[in-house]
Protein backbone atom coordinates (compact mmCIF):
# COMPACT_ATOMS: atom_id res chain seq x y z
CA UNK A 1 0.00 0.00 0.00
CA UNK A 2 2.70 2.43 1.08
CA UNK A 3 4.97 1.34 -1.72
CA UNK A 4 2.21 1.84 -4.27
CA UNK A 5 1.45 5.30 -2.97
CA UNK A 6 5.12 6.18 -3.42
CA UNK A 7 5.39 4.68 -6.91
CA UNK A 8 3.63 7.47 -8.81
CA UNK A 9 5.62 10.41 -7.41
CA UNK A 10 8.90 8.49 -7.75
CA UNK A 11 8.18 7.65 -11.39
CA UNK A 12 7.18 11.22 -12.15
CA UNK A 13 10.22 12.59 -10.33
CA UNK A 14 12.74 10.33 -12.07
CA UNK A 15 11.13 10.92 -15.45
CA UNK A 16 11.23 14.69 -14.94
CA UNK A 17 14.91 14.61 -13.94
CA UNK A 18 15.78 12.44 -16.95
CA UNK A 19 13.82 14.68 -19.32
CA UNK A 20 15.59 17.71 -17.85
CA UNK A 21 19.04 16.11 -18.31
CA UNK A 22 18.29 15.02 -21.87
CA UNK A 23 16.79 18.40 -22.73
CA UNK A 24 19.86 20.23 -21.50
CA UNK A 25 22.34 17.89 -23.22
CA UNK A 26 20.61 17.39 -26.53
CA UNK A 27 19.43 20.98 -26.77
CA UNK A 28 22.87 22.27 -25.75
CA UNK A 29 21.17 24.61 -23.33
CA UNK A 30 23.56 27.14 -21.85
CA UNK A 31 24.10 26.67 -18.11
CA UNK A 32 22.94 30.22 -17.36
CA UNK A 33 19.53 29.21 -18.70
CA UNK A 34 19.32 25.81 -17.13
CA UNK A 35 22.22 23.72 -15.80
CA UNK A 36 21.93 19.94 -16.10
CA UNK A 37 20.85 18.06 -12.96
CA UNK A 38 24.09 16.09 -13.09
CA UNK A 39 26.12 19.32 -13.05
CA UNK A 40 24.06 20.64 -10.11
CA UNK A 41 24.57 17.38 -8.26
CA UNK A 42 28.33 17.51 -8.77
CA UNK A 43 28.43 21.06 -7.49
CA UNK A 44 26.28 20.03 -4.56
CA UNK A 45 28.78 17.33 -3.56
CA UNK A 46 31.74 19.62 -4.10
CA UNK A 47 30.27 22.44 -2.00
CA UNK A 48 28.68 20.16 0.55
CA UNK A 49 30.67 21.53 3.50
CA UNK A 50 29.89 25.14 2.64
CA UNK A 51 26.23 24.28 2.10
CA UNK A 52 26.02 22.69 5.53
CA UNK A 53 27.79 25.61 7.18
CA UNK A 54 25.74 28.34 5.52
CA UNK A 55 22.65 26.18 5.84
CA UNK A 56 23.04 25.98 9.59
CA UNK A 57 23.48 29.76 9.78
CA UNK A 58 20.24 30.23 7.86
CA UNK A 59 18.59 27.43 9.82
CA UNK A 60 19.47 29.12 13.10
CA UNK A 61 17.85 32.33 11.87
CA UNK A 62 14.72 30.43 10.92
CA UNK A 63 14.57 28.62 14.24
CA UNK A 64 14.96 31.71 16.41
CA UNK A 65 12.57 33.76 14.28
CA UNK A 66 10.05 30.95 14.12
CA UNK A 67 9.98 30.45 17.86
CA UNK A 68 9.72 34.18 18.56
CA UNK A 69 7.04 34.74 15.92
CA UNK A 70 5.05 31.74 17.09
CA UNK A 71 5.01 32.90 20.70
CA UNK A 72 3.97 36.41 19.65
CA UNK A 73 1.25 35.10 17.36
CA UNK A 74 -0.12 32.74 20.01
CA UNK A 75 -0.30 35.51 22.58
CA UNK A 76 -1.93 37.89 20.12
CA UNK A 77 -4.48 35.28 19.04
CA UNK A 78 -5.41 34.54 22.65
CA UNK A 79 -5.88 38.25 23.31
CA UNK A 80 -7.88 38.75 20.12
CA UNK A 81 -10.18 35.84 20.90
CA UNK A 82 -10.62 37.04 24.47
CA UNK A 83 -11.65 40.57 23.53
CA UNK A 84 -14.28 40.38 20.82
CA UNK A 85 -13.76 43.84 19.35
CA UNK A 86 -10.01 43.38 19.15
CA UNK A 87 -10.49 40.14 17.24
CA UNK A 88 -13.05 41.67 14.92
CA UNK A 89 -10.76 44.58 14.19
CA UNK A 90 -7.46 42.78 14.00
CA UNK A 91 -8.56 40.05 11.59
CA UNK A 92 -9.00 42.39 8.58
CA UNK A 93 -5.88 44.36 9.54
CA UNK A 94 -3.83 41.20 9.72
CA UNK A 95 -5.37 39.91 6.50
CA UNK A 96 -4.34 43.17 4.83
CA UNK A 97 -0.87 42.89 6.32
CA UNK A 98 -0.75 39.40 4.84
CA UNK A 99 -1.10 40.94 1.38
CA UNK A 100 2.00 43.06 1.91
CA UNK A 101 5.45 42.00 0.75
CA UNK A 102 6.79 41.91 4.32
CA UNK A 103 10.12 40.74 3.05
CA UNK A 104 10.66 44.25 1.69
CA UNK A 105 11.08 45.39 5.29
CA UNK A 106 14.48 43.71 5.35
CA UNK A 107 16.54 46.80 4.48
CA UNK A 108 14.72 48.87 7.11
CA UNK A 109 15.39 46.30 9.78
CA UNK A 110 19.03 46.26 8.71
CA UNK A 111 19.07 49.97 9.54
CA UNK A 112 17.24 49.65 12.83
CA UNK A 113 19.53 46.95 14.15
CA UNK A 114 23.09 46.33 13.05
CA UNK A 115 23.37 45.18 9.49
CA UNK A 116 26.20 42.97 10.72
CA UNK A 117 24.05 40.97 13.16
CA UNK A 118 21.56 38.21 12.57
CA UNK A 119 18.81 40.03 14.43
CA UNK A 120 17.26 41.78 11.38
CA UNK A 121 16.97 38.45 9.59
CA UNK A 122 15.40 36.78 12.58
CA UNK A 123 13.02 39.70 13.00
CA UNK A 124 11.90 39.28 9.39
CA UNK A 125 11.30 35.56 9.92
CA UNK A 126 9.33 36.31 13.08
CA UNK A 127 7.19 38.89 11.25
CA UNK A 128 6.54 36.61 8.29
CA UNK A 129 5.53 33.60 10.42
CA UNK A 130 3.36 35.73 12.72
CA UNK A 131 0.51 36.12 10.26
CA UNK A 132 -0.36 32.55 9.27
CA UNK A 133 -0.11 31.39 12.88
CA UNK A 134 -2.17 34.27 14.21
CA UNK A 135 -4.92 33.89 11.61
CA UNK A 136 -5.20 30.12 11.88
CA UNK A 137 -5.09 30.03 15.66
CA UNK A 138 -7.66 32.80 15.96
CA UNK A 139 -10.00 30.90 13.64
CA UNK A 140 -9.52 27.77 15.73
CA UNK A 141 -10.14 29.59 18.99
CA UNK A 142 -13.37 30.99 17.62
CA UNK A 143 -14.73 27.81 16.09
CA UNK A 144 -16.29 26.01 19.01
CA UNK A 145 -18.81 23.22 18.51
CA UNK A 146 -22.14 24.51 19.95
CA UNK A 147 -22.74 21.09 21.52
CA UNK A 148 -19.50 21.49 23.45
CA UNK A 149 -20.63 24.90 24.68
CA UNK A 150 -23.93 23.48 25.92
CA UNK A 151 -22.21 20.49 27.47
CA UNK A 152 -19.85 22.68 29.47
CA UNK A 153 -22.78 24.93 30.40
CA UNK A 154 -24.64 21.90 31.69
CA UNK A 155 -21.65 21.23 33.95
CA UNK A 156 -21.73 24.87 35.07
CA UNK A 157 -18.04 24.88 34.10
CA UNK A 158 -16.00 28.03 34.76
CA UNK A 159 -14.75 30.13 31.82
CA UNK A 160 -11.23 29.03 32.68
CA UNK A 161 -12.21 25.35 32.53
CA UNK A 162 -13.97 26.01 29.23
CA UNK A 163 -10.85 27.57 27.76
CA UNK A 164 -8.55 24.88 29.06
CA UNK A 165 -10.69 21.89 28.18
CA UNK A 166 -12.49 22.98 25.01
CA UNK A 167 -11.12 26.07 23.34
CA UNK A 168 -7.39 25.45 23.51
CA UNK A 169 -7.35 21.77 22.51
CA UNK A 170 -9.93 22.53 19.81
CA UNK A 171 -7.66 25.21 18.35
CA UNK A 172 -4.58 22.96 18.34
CA UNK A 173 -5.12 21.51 14.84
CA UNK A 174 -5.62 25.03 13.45
CA UNK A 175 -2.47 26.22 15.17
CA UNK A 176 -0.47 23.40 13.65
CA UNK A 177 -1.82 24.15 10.18
CA UNK A 178 -0.51 27.67 10.70
CA UNK A 179 2.80 26.40 12.00
CA UNK A 180 3.26 24.19 8.95
CA UNK A 181 2.68 27.12 6.60
CA UNK A 182 4.90 29.28 8.77
CA UNK A 183 7.79 26.84 8.78
CA UNK A 184 8.05 27.00 4.98
CA UNK A 185 7.54 30.74 4.85
CA UNK A 186 10.16 31.21 7.55
CA UNK A 187 12.81 29.40 5.53
CA UNK A 188 11.95 31.39 2.44
CA UNK A 189 12.14 34.64 4.40
CA UNK A 190 15.45 33.76 6.01
CA UNK A 191 17.08 32.88 2.68
CA UNK A 192 15.59 35.65 0.59
CA UNK A 193 16.13 38.43 3.14
CA UNK A 194 19.85 38.00 2.50
CA UNK A 195 19.29 39.33 -1.01
CA UNK A 196 18.53 42.68 0.61
CA UNK A 197 22.02 43.05 2.05
CA UNK A 198 23.19 42.72 5.62
CA UNK A 199 25.24 39.91 7.10
CA UNK A 200 26.32 37.45 4.40
CA UNK A 201 26.68 34.16 6.21
CA UNK A 202 23.70 32.16 4.98
CA UNK A 203 22.55 30.24 1.95
CA UNK A 204 20.97 33.27 0.30
CA UNK A 205 24.22 35.18 0.07
CA UNK A 206 25.94 32.19 -1.54
CA UNK A 207 23.22 31.91 -4.16
CA UNK A 208 23.62 35.56 -5.18
CA UNK A 209 27.40 35.30 -5.04
CA UNK A 210 27.50 32.23 -7.26
CA UNK A 211 25.00 33.72 -9.71
CA UNK A 212 26.92 36.96 -10.05
CA UNK A 213 30.07 34.92 -10.75
CA UNK A 214 28.08 33.15 -13.49
CA UNK A 215 28.65 29.87 -11.59
CA UNK A 216 25.09 28.84 -12.24
CA UNK A 217 25.32 25.13 -11.38
CA UNK A 218 26.78 26.25 -8.06
CA UNK A 219 23.90 28.68 -7.51
CA UNK A 220 21.45 25.90 -8.19
CA UNK A 221 23.31 23.60 -5.82
CA UNK A 222 22.82 26.13 -3.05
CA UNK A 223 19.16 26.38 -3.98
CA UNK A 224 19.00 22.62 -3.54
CA UNK A 225 20.52 23.13 -0.11
CA UNK A 226 17.87 25.74 0.66
CA UNK A 227 15.20 23.28 -0.46
CA UNK A 228 16.62 20.68 1.90
CA UNK A 229 16.46 23.21 4.72
CA UNK A 230 12.83 23.97 3.80
CA UNK A 231 11.96 20.28 3.85
CA UNK A 232 13.71 19.85 7.17
CA UNK A 233 11.62 22.54 8.82
CA UNK A 234 8.41 21.36 7.19
CA UNK A 235 9.07 17.81 8.32
CA UNK A 236 9.83 19.00 11.84
CA UNK A 237 6.56 20.95 11.95
CA UNK A 238 4.71 17.91 10.63
CA UNK A 239 6.31 15.66 13.22
CA UNK A 240 5.45 18.07 16.01
CA UNK A 241 1.86 18.15 14.76
CA UNK A 242 1.67 14.37 14.73
CA UNK A 243 3.02 14.09 18.24
CA UNK A 244 0.85 16.84 19.67
CA UNK A 245 -2.44 15.87 18.03
CA UNK A 246 -2.48 12.06 18.09
CA UNK A 247 -6.25 11.93 17.73
CA UNK A 248 -6.11 13.22 14.18
CA UNK A 249 -4.16 10.22 12.95
CA UNK A 250 -6.68 7.91 14.56
CA UNK A 251 -9.67 8.55 12.29
CA UNK A 252 -10.95 5.20 11.12
Amino acid sequence: MRARALAAPVIVGVAALLAWEVFVRVGRVAPFVLPAPSAIFQEFLRSFDVIVRTGSASGMNVLVGLVAGTLLALGAALLASRFGLLGEVSAPVVAAANALPIIALAPILNNMFESTSSIPRRAIVALVVFFPIFLNTLRGLREVDPTHTELMDSYAASPWAFNRLVRLPGAAPFFFTGLRQASSLGVIAAVVSEYFGGLQNGLGSRITAAASNTAYPRAWAFVVGACALGLLFYAAALLLERLATPWRRASS
Binding site: V89, A104, M112, S117
Partner: protein, 274 residues
Protein backbone atom coordinates in the same frame (compact mmCIF):
# COMPACT_ATOMS: atom_id res chain seq x y z
CA UNK B 1 -18.55 50.47 9.79
CA UNK B 2 -17.53 49.36 13.27
CA UNK B 3 -14.85 47.23 11.68
CA UNK B 4 -13.57 50.05 9.50
CA UNK B 5 -13.39 52.42 12.47
CA UNK B 6 -11.72 49.74 14.58
CA UNK B 7 -9.17 49.04 11.87
CA UNK B 8 -8.36 52.75 11.66
CA UNK B 9 -8.04 52.85 15.43
CA UNK B 10 -5.64 49.93 15.32
CA UNK B 11 -3.57 51.65 12.62
CA UNK B 12 -3.52 54.83 14.71
CA UNK B 13 -2.47 52.77 17.71
CA UNK B 14 0.42 51.30 15.72
CA UNK B 15 1.49 54.79 14.60
CA UNK B 16 1.27 55.98 18.21
CA UNK B 17 3.38 53.04 19.36
CA UNK B 18 6.00 53.94 16.76
CA UNK B 19 6.26 57.54 17.93
CA UNK B 20 6.10 56.50 21.58
CA UNK B 21 8.95 54.05 21.15
CA UNK B 22 10.90 56.70 19.32
CA UNK B 23 10.33 59.19 22.12
CA UNK B 24 11.08 56.83 25.00
CA UNK B 25 13.68 54.34 23.82
CA UNK B 26 17.38 55.28 23.83
CA UNK B 27 18.68 56.38 20.43
CA UNK B 28 21.02 53.45 20.20
CA UNK B 29 18.38 50.83 21.13
CA UNK B 30 18.99 48.31 23.87
CA UNK B 31 21.89 45.94 23.67
CA UNK B 32 22.54 43.00 25.93
CA UNK B 33 26.02 41.53 25.83
CA UNK B 34 26.81 43.34 22.61
CA UNK B 35 23.70 42.13 20.77
CA UNK B 36 21.08 44.77 20.07
CA UNK B 37 17.68 43.43 21.07
CA UNK B 38 15.62 46.57 20.76
CA UNK B 39 16.05 48.64 17.62
CA UNK B 40 17.67 52.04 17.36
CA UNK B 41 15.23 54.88 17.65
CA UNK B 42 17.17 57.82 16.26
CA UNK B 43 15.93 59.77 13.24
CA UNK B 44 18.10 57.74 10.96
CA UNK B 45 16.65 54.33 11.81
CA UNK B 46 13.14 55.41 12.76
CA UNK B 47 12.23 58.75 11.19
CA UNK B 48 9.12 60.53 12.42
CA UNK B 49 6.04 59.43 10.54
CA UNK B 50 5.37 62.98 9.43
CA UNK B 51 8.89 63.18 7.98
CA UNK B 52 8.08 60.13 5.86
CA UNK B 53 4.78 61.63 4.72
CA UNK B 54 6.42 64.95 3.93
CA UNK B 55 9.13 63.15 1.98
CA UNK B 56 6.44 61.81 -0.35
CA UNK B 57 5.85 65.32 -1.67
CA UNK B 58 9.50 66.22 -2.15
CA UNK B 59 11.47 65.46 -5.31
CA UNK B 60 13.23 62.11 -5.56
CA UNK B 61 16.50 63.75 -6.51
CA UNK B 62 17.26 67.43 -6.55
CA UNK B 63 14.99 68.95 -9.15
CA UNK B 64 13.36 65.62 -10.13
CA UNK B 65 9.77 64.47 -9.95
CA UNK B 66 8.20 64.24 -6.49
CA UNK B 67 8.59 60.87 -4.83
CA UNK B 68 4.93 59.99 -4.87
CA UNK B 69 4.95 60.23 -8.65
CA UNK B 70 8.02 58.04 -8.92
CA UNK B 71 6.46 55.53 -6.54
CA UNK B 72 3.18 55.43 -8.40
CA UNK B 73 4.82 54.79 -11.74
CA UNK B 74 7.04 52.10 -10.15
CA UNK B 75 3.94 50.49 -8.63
CA UNK B 76 2.27 50.48 -12.04
CA UNK B 77 5.31 48.85 -13.62
CA UNK B 78 5.37 46.14 -10.97
CA UNK B 79 1.60 45.77 -11.18
CA UNK B 80 2.01 44.90 -14.85
CA UNK B 81 4.69 42.34 -14.00
CA UNK B 82 2.47 40.90 -11.28
CA UNK B 83 -0.48 40.72 -13.68
CA UNK B 84 1.51 38.78 -16.27
CA UNK B 85 2.94 36.48 -13.59
CA UNK B 86 -0.46 35.95 -12.00
CA UNK B 87 -2.04 35.18 -15.35
CA UNK B 88 0.70 32.68 -16.20
CA UNK B 89 0.42 31.16 -12.71
CA UNK B 90 -3.34 30.83 -13.01
CA UNK B 91 -3.10 29.19 -16.43
CA UNK B 92 -0.43 26.73 -15.27
CA UNK B 93 -2.15 26.08 -11.94
CA UNK B 94 -5.52 25.65 -13.64
CA UNK B 95 -4.17 23.20 -16.21
CA UNK B 96 -2.41 21.24 -13.48
CA UNK B 97 -5.61 21.08 -11.45
CA UNK B 98 -7.66 19.81 -14.39
CA UNK B 99 -4.94 17.31 -15.27
CA UNK B 100 -4.82 16.04 -11.69
CA UNK B 101 -8.59 15.83 -11.49
CA UNK B 102 -8.79 13.93 -14.78
CA UNK B 103 -6.02 11.40 -14.20
CA UNK B 104 -5.54 9.73 -10.85
CA UNK B 105 -1.96 8.94 -11.76
CA UNK B 106 -1.26 12.59 -12.39
CA UNK B 107 -2.71 13.51 -9.01
CA UNK B 108 -0.69 10.87 -7.19
CA UNK B 109 2.44 11.69 -9.15
CA UNK B 110 2.24 15.49 -9.23
CA UNK B 111 0.43 16.59 -6.08
CA UNK B 112 3.32 15.63 -3.78
CA UNK B 113 5.62 17.85 -5.87
CA UNK B 114 3.10 20.66 -6.01
CA UNK B 115 2.90 20.59 -2.22
CA UNK B 116 6.64 20.10 -1.94
CA UNK B 117 7.26 23.12 -4.14
CA UNK B 118 5.72 25.27 -1.41
CA UNK B 119 7.77 23.86 1.42
CA UNK B 120 11.03 24.76 -0.28
CA UNK B 121 12.39 28.24 -0.97
CA UNK B 122 12.51 27.83 -4.75
CA UNK B 123 12.02 31.58 -5.00
CA UNK B 124 15.67 31.57 -4.00
CA UNK B 125 16.23 30.58 -7.62
CA UNK B 126 15.57 34.16 -8.60
CA UNK B 127 19.26 35.13 -8.92
CA UNK B 128 19.98 31.88 -10.74
CA UNK B 129 17.46 32.58 -13.48
CA UNK B 130 18.42 36.23 -13.73
CA UNK B 131 20.46 35.18 -16.75
CA UNK B 132 17.27 34.51 -18.69
CA UNK B 133 16.69 38.22 -19.01
CA UNK B 134 17.85 39.41 -22.38
CA UNK B 135 18.69 35.89 -23.52
CA UNK B 136 15.37 34.12 -23.90
CA UNK B 137 12.99 36.78 -22.63
CA UNK B 138 12.97 40.45 -21.65
CA UNK B 139 14.31 41.07 -18.18
CA UNK B 140 10.94 41.87 -16.67
CA UNK B 141 9.82 38.47 -17.95
CA UNK B 142 12.13 36.70 -15.50
CA UNK B 143 10.43 38.59 -12.69
CA UNK B 144 7.07 37.47 -14.00
CA UNK B 145 8.32 33.89 -14.07
CA UNK B 146 9.19 34.14 -10.38
CA UNK B 147 5.82 35.73 -9.60
CA UNK B 148 4.08 32.99 -11.58
CA UNK B 149 6.00 30.32 -9.73
CA UNK B 150 4.71 31.63 -6.41
CA UNK B 151 1.19 32.15 -7.74
CA UNK B 152 0.51 28.80 -9.37
CA UNK B 153 0.37 26.75 -6.19
CA UNK B 154 -2.69 28.21 -4.44
CA UNK B 155 -4.56 28.03 -7.74
CA UNK B 156 -3.60 24.42 -8.45
CA UNK B 157 -4.48 23.19 -4.99
CA UNK B 158 -7.59 25.36 -4.52
CA UNK B 159 -8.99 24.55 -7.94
CA UNK B 160 -8.29 20.84 -7.54
CA UNK B 161 -10.23 20.87 -4.30
CA UNK B 162 -13.02 22.77 -6.04
CA UNK B 163 -13.12 20.40 -9.00
CA UNK B 164 -13.39 17.51 -6.58
CA UNK B 165 -16.07 19.22 -4.50
CA UNK B 166 -19.25 18.04 -6.29
CA UNK B 167 -21.07 15.38 -4.28
CA UNK B 168 -21.24 11.79 -5.51
CA UNK B 169 -24.97 12.35 -6.08
CA UNK B 170 -24.33 15.25 -8.45
CA UNK B 171 -21.70 13.23 -10.32
CA UNK B 172 -24.02 10.24 -10.57
CA UNK B 173 -26.71 12.54 -11.91
CA UNK B 174 -24.34 13.64 -14.70
CA UNK B 175 -23.46 9.98 -15.29
CA UNK B 176 -27.13 9.12 -15.55
CA UNK B 177 -27.32 11.64 -18.42
CA UNK B 178 -24.28 9.86 -19.86
CA UNK B 179 -22.61 13.28 -19.94
CA UNK B 180 -19.07 13.37 -21.29
CA UNK B 181 -16.11 14.20 -19.06
CA UNK B 182 -15.89 17.59 -20.74
CA UNK B 183 -19.59 18.34 -20.18
CA UNK B 184 -19.28 17.33 -16.54
CA UNK B 185 -16.26 19.61 -16.22
CA UNK B 186 -17.96 22.61 -17.76
CA UNK B 187 -21.44 22.17 -16.33
CA UNK B 188 -20.68 20.79 -12.90
CA UNK B 189 -17.07 20.82 -11.76
CA UNK B 190 -16.03 24.31 -12.86
CA UNK B 191 -19.10 26.10 -11.49
CA UNK B 192 -18.74 24.13 -8.27
CA UNK B 193 -15.12 25.22 -7.96
CA UNK B 194 -15.79 28.97 -8.10
CA UNK B 195 -16.15 29.36 -4.32
CA UNK B 196 -12.72 27.74 -4.01
CA UNK B 197 -11.17 29.70 -6.85
CA UNK B 198 -11.41 33.24 -5.50
CA UNK B 199 -9.83 32.65 -2.10
CA UNK B 200 -7.08 30.83 -4.00
CA UNK B 201 -6.71 33.78 -6.39
CA UNK B 202 -6.29 36.18 -3.49
CA UNK B 203 -3.54 34.03 -2.01
CA UNK B 204 -1.97 33.79 -5.45
CA UNK B 205 -2.13 37.57 -5.88
CA UNK B 206 -0.38 38.23 -2.59
CA UNK B 207 2.22 35.60 -3.43
CA UNK B 208 2.79 37.09 -6.89
CA UNK B 209 3.49 40.49 -5.30
CA UNK B 210 6.11 38.97 -3.01
CA UNK B 211 7.55 37.12 -6.00
CA UNK B 212 7.74 40.28 -8.08
CA UNK B 213 9.39 42.34 -5.32
CA UNK B 214 11.95 39.63 -4.58
CA UNK B 215 12.41 38.99 -8.29
CA UNK B 216 13.11 42.64 -9.10
CA UNK B 217 15.69 42.85 -6.38
CA UNK B 218 17.54 39.68 -7.21
CA UNK B 219 17.48 40.02 -10.99
CA UNK B 220 18.33 43.70 -10.87
CA UNK B 221 15.30 44.62 -12.97
CA UNK B 222 14.82 48.39 -13.01
CA UNK B 223 11.70 50.51 -12.89
CA UNK B 224 9.65 48.57 -10.36
CA UNK B 225 8.85 49.11 -6.69
CA UNK B 226 11.08 46.27 -5.46
CA UNK B 227 14.02 47.93 -7.13
CA UNK B 228 13.16 51.24 -5.44
CA UNK B 229 13.15 49.54 -2.04
CA UNK B 230 16.71 48.38 -2.51
CA UNK B 231 17.89 51.62 -4.18
CA UNK B 232 16.40 53.86 -1.51
CA UNK B 233 17.71 51.65 1.28
CA UNK B 234 21.23 52.42 0.08
CA UNK B 235 20.51 56.09 0.79
CA UNK B 236 19.24 55.31 4.25
CA UNK B 237 22.13 57.05 5.98
CA UNK B 238 21.68 60.35 4.15
CA UNK B 239 17.94 60.26 3.48
CA UNK B 240 16.33 57.86 5.97
CA UNK B 241 12.72 58.74 5.19
CA UNK B 242 13.13 57.76 1.55
CA UNK B 243 13.24 54.00 2.10
CA UNK B 244 10.08 54.23 4.16
CA UNK B 245 8.26 55.86 1.29
CA UNK B 246 9.26 52.86 -0.81
CA UNK B 247 7.73 50.59 1.84
CA UNK B 248 4.51 52.56 1.55
CA UNK B 249 4.62 51.97 -2.19
CA UNK B 250 5.11 48.21 -1.72
CA UNK B 251 2.22 48.13 0.76
CA UNK B 252 0.06 50.06 -1.69
CA UNK B 253 0.86 47.54 -4.40
CA UNK B 254 -0.05 44.57 -2.19
CA UNK B 255 -3.33 46.13 -1.12
CA UNK B 256 -4.17 47.14 -4.70
CA UNK B 257 -3.73 43.61 -5.99
CA UNK B 258 -5.84 42.09 -3.19
CA UNK B 259 -8.39 44.87 -3.62
CA UNK B 260 -8.69 44.27 -7.37
CA UNK B 261 -9.16 40.54 -6.83
CA UNK B 262 -11.80 41.16 -4.16
CA UNK B 263 -13.55 43.45 -6.62
CA UNK B 264 -13.44 40.74 -9.28
CA UNK B 265 -14.90 38.29 -6.79
CA UNK B 266 -17.78 40.67 -5.98
CA UNK B 267 -18.49 41.21 -9.68
CA UNK B 268 -18.44 37.47 -10.36
CA UNK B 269 -20.78 36.86 -7.43
CA UNK B 270 -23.13 39.53 -8.73
CA UNK B 271 -23.04 37.97 -12.19
CA UNK B 272 -23.90 34.58 -10.73
CA UNK B 273 -26.96 35.84 -8.84
CA UNK B 274 -29.00 38.14 -11.10
Amino acid sequence: MRRALGSLALAALAAGAWELYKALAPDEGVSVAGVRFLPRSDDQAMPHLWTVLARLGQPELRGGAPIWEVLLSACLTTLGIVAVGLLAGVVVGGLLAVLMQRFGFAERGLLPYVVLSQTVPLVALAPAIAGWGGAIMPQWGTVSVIAAYLAFFPVAVGLLRGLQSPTPEALELMDSYSASWWATLVKLRLPASLPYLFPALKLAGAAAVVGAVVGEISTGTRGGIGRLVIEYSREATTDPAKVYTAMLGAALLGLTVTGLLTLAQRLAARGATP
